[in-house]
Subunit: 151 residues, 2 copies
DNA sequence: GAAGAAAGTTAGCCTAGGCTAACTTTTCGT
DNA sequence: ACGAAAAGTTAGCCTAGGCTAACTTTCTTC
């Protein structure tokens, strides 16, 4: 039987944990409590606590003192939040924002974009990437030159 | 002396309260506990509690059982979050999203966009508004026709 | 194969921001 | 003007998700 039936949407905190866990697994091959704590700038005790909750919720399998693996549900969620993070980062990069600003804003916004909005922004960024002239105009806050009639 | 010295950035909850309070004042002329509660779908008791906190933080002046007014600081914050809300709504409307989706996403995202990002999105939307053809392409997820060489 | 270091866990605490139930104050209708 | 309804407040509770301090387990180094 599934560990938690009426699965509410994951909280921002849960999404941040899963995102970092997946990233650690993808880069180091495994995710240790101490590393998750480092990535999230959170105490190890808090991580242990949350990892136990995530286990209870069926998002990962955790063996005390040994390690953890994402379940299918957990990995799916992790990939999803990672995708939102990447998309928003891409989008704000197109707008020419500074890396720290981007990171700060993305880290908050990523938890609030619905699938429809994700799709719309994907479409937008893919279009904008093909229009460097328009982008330059946007970035400088100046109306884009339709062609190059005015300099 | 100022009511709260090391003023941390306002929480999402605080911003939502101030936003609704300002809106009520602008439309009805005053903001009553019962209406704030209605707008935010929150109990009256919770509103009373928060209003007392906002008073302690110097964001509004509150007289028990009578009413409340925003302070300069509170109104400034309220106008600011309202502006972010409006901007994001505008932006997502341009992308052709459904009103409920827009409202849901904006209500969450608005608390996480820094001034730089606000400015960049303002520039973006103002540019997009002048390019209906590009917008149609974005909305349908289809590459925009550069001019009308291909139909 | 210890001993010390590093990692992990537990216990107990805290804050924000919700809730309900019970009480008080204000307003409204007759 | 007074009694009921509406609005507002208080008290007590709850959950999520942080924290530190103290303890335990695992790893590393000799
Ligand atoms: Mn995040
Ligand atoms: Mn993220
Ligand atoms: Mn909001
Ligand atoms: Mn809002």
């Amino acid at each position: 039987m599934p560990p938690k039936s009426p699965k509410r949407p994951a909280s921002s905190a849960v999404e941040d944990y899963l995102e970092q866990i997946l990233e650690l697994i993808n880069t180091k091959g495994y995710a240790r409590v101490v590393d998750i704590a480092g990535r999230l700038s959170i105490s190890q005790a808090s991580v242990t606590n949350m990892v136990q909750k995530l286990d209870a919720d069926g998002l990962l399998k955790y063996e005390k003192y040994r390690g953890l693996v994402l379940t299918t549900a957990g990995e799916e969620l992790a990939r999803n939040i990672t995708h939102r993070h990447q998309l928003l980062t891409d989008f704000l990069q197109l707008l020419g924002l500074a890396p720290d600003v981007i990171h700060h804003d993305v880290e908050g916004m990523e938890h609030h974009v619905s699938p429809e909005t994700v799709h719309a922004i994907e479409s937008l960024t893919s279009h904008l990437k093909r229009r460097p002239a328009l982008l330059r105009g946007i970035r400088s806050g100046i109306p884009a030159t339709r062609s190059r009639r005015n300099f």
